[in-house]
Amino acid sequence: MVNRLRGGKIPAFSDPETKRAQFEAAALPFTGRLYSAARRLTGSDDDAADLVQDTFLRAYRTFENFQPGTNCRAWLFTILYSIFLNERTRHRPTLLSAEQLDTVAAADRELAPGESPWSLEVERALRRLPTAFRAAVLLVDVEELSYEEAAAAAGCLVGTLRSRLFRGRKLLGAMLRDHAREAGFPPPTKTSE
């Protein structure tokens, strides 16, 4: 995104109504995806809603920095993750222990109607990943951003993102394998590509 913004700001909007209309058209369609990511980052419905609300407010204030035609979703995720990290640093200066994370994971959301119990196990395993690894998996695998977009969103180099993603996937795979073994069934071997 840095490169994208290096091209310069777009001209200021001619009037507030134009800005509002363009912002709503460009950004609001991603509300659901931002909420999903926020929920998976924070582990809380209320915190996720607050995070999404703050993300849209900051995005709106800096909408002049967004270049039409570029990936608005990636830009929004950059803002969201930045606010998440800042809030987390301010309110939760110490890392949660594995036991605490277990508690958070156990208190996680309930199964939605028609949803596979397996996806809840994936959610739970994802929640137990260290934040940086979880963010990498969320941004690349769940939200399907490119490595470059995900690195910009996470505020790190592409190489760092690649390492975090690798370690996140390895941990996630190990947790799911262990769970599947304990539960007595093999994890789905869904393949893609």
């Binding site: 507030p16 109504e17 509002r20 912002f23 709503e24 609001l28 509300t31 659901g32 995806r33 909420y35 999903s36 929920r39 998976r40 419905d45 809603a49 999404v52 609300q53 849209f56 407010l57 709106y60 204030r61 959301r109 939605a112 949803e115 397996w118 996806s119 994936v122 959610e123 395993a125 994802l126 998996v137 969320l138 695998d141 769940v142 399907e144 490595y147 690649r162 390492s163 993603l165 690798f166 996937r169 390895k170 996630l172 795979g173 190990a174 799911l176 394998r177 994890p187 789905p188 071997t189 869904k190 393949t191 893609s192 590509e193």
Partner: protein, 264 residues
């Protein structure tokens, strides 16, 4: 580094299609020969597939309203004219203005005229719904309607909101009267052409009768009344009382009020 440890993150590069030739062919050939790397690649692919298979999570029903509300507040804060931010630097003038307005409001308040404000607003809603109360300006442009109210002598700043995100389209407005005092009345058309009106008038929540329900949101008190099938939600903004009236679901009307209200 022995052969078993030659490839690590490169397996992920292979999986994600991020390798160019000849590295791609070299690593792919290695994977066919090396059981450990084959298993490693399969494990990465399983983890990726598991994450990719996660469904989107249902967002809270009021999230869109919350977002609209903060964007509205931001619009108001950055609008030209005497915004709260600018007024903060001119607080003596503001204080004098507020005192004058309070005196004016006190003079205007007559118990007989304010005895049943919810019923009065309910009658206005029914009048608009039944086409007995005509709009003087038909417009979907909130700014145009605000200019209209100012030109027609409404003394307080009116805030006409675009509730389009909540699927309510501005239809227009008229200068009206509530309890003997001027009001800015504006109307919206919601889903299934359901009407919604908003009225703003100088006054105080203290004039209202006891409410069936009182809610507090973001530090603002909302009084909720039912008049027949109508829901009326009143709240205070400075020296102005705002009310929304509709025959829609009570919670929906309250949520619209939350979206519109601003603490002054």
């Amino acid at each position: 580094m022995n052969d078993n440890h030659r490839f690590d993150e490169e397996l992920q590069d292979l999986l994600d299609g991020r390798l160019e030739e000849p590295a791609r062919s070299e690593i792919a050939a290695h994977v066919t020969r090396c059981p450990r790397c084959r298993e490693e690649l399969a494990a990465l692919e399983r983890a990726r597939a598991a994450a990719r298979g996660l469904p989107p999570l249902a967002e809270p029903a009021d999230l869109a309203l919350r977002i609209a509300s903060v964007l509205d507040a931001e619009d108001r804060a950055s609008a030209p004219g005497p915004t709260r931010r600018r007024l903060a630097h001119r607080w003596p003038l503001v204080a004098a203005g507020l005192i004058a307005a309070a005196v004016l409001v006190a003079l205007l308040l007559r118990p007989s005229a304010t005895a049943d404000l919810p019923a009065a607003v309910g009658r206005d809603f029914a009048g608009y719904r039944d086409a007995r109360l005509a709009l003087e300006l038909r417009t979907g442009d909130p700014a145009a309607l605000e200019r209209f109210f100012a030109a027609r002598g409404i003394a307080f700043p009116t805030r006409v909101f675009d509730l389009g995100m909540m699927r309510y389209r501005l239809a227009g407005g008229r200068v009206h009267r509530v309890a003997g005092r001027p009001s800015a009345l504006f109307a919206y058309t919601g889903p299934n052409a359901a009407p919604l009106i908003c009225e703003m008038y100088g006054g105080s929540l203290a004039e209202l009768p006891r409410a069936a329900e009182q809610r507090v949101h973001d530090g603002i008190t909302f009084r909720v009344y039912r008049v027949g099938r109508m829901t009326l939600v009143f709240w205070q903004e400075g020296t102005v009382v705002c009310v929304l009236a509709s025959e829609g679901n009570t919670d929906e009307v309250v949520q619209l009020a939350y979206a519109k209200a601003v603490k002054v």
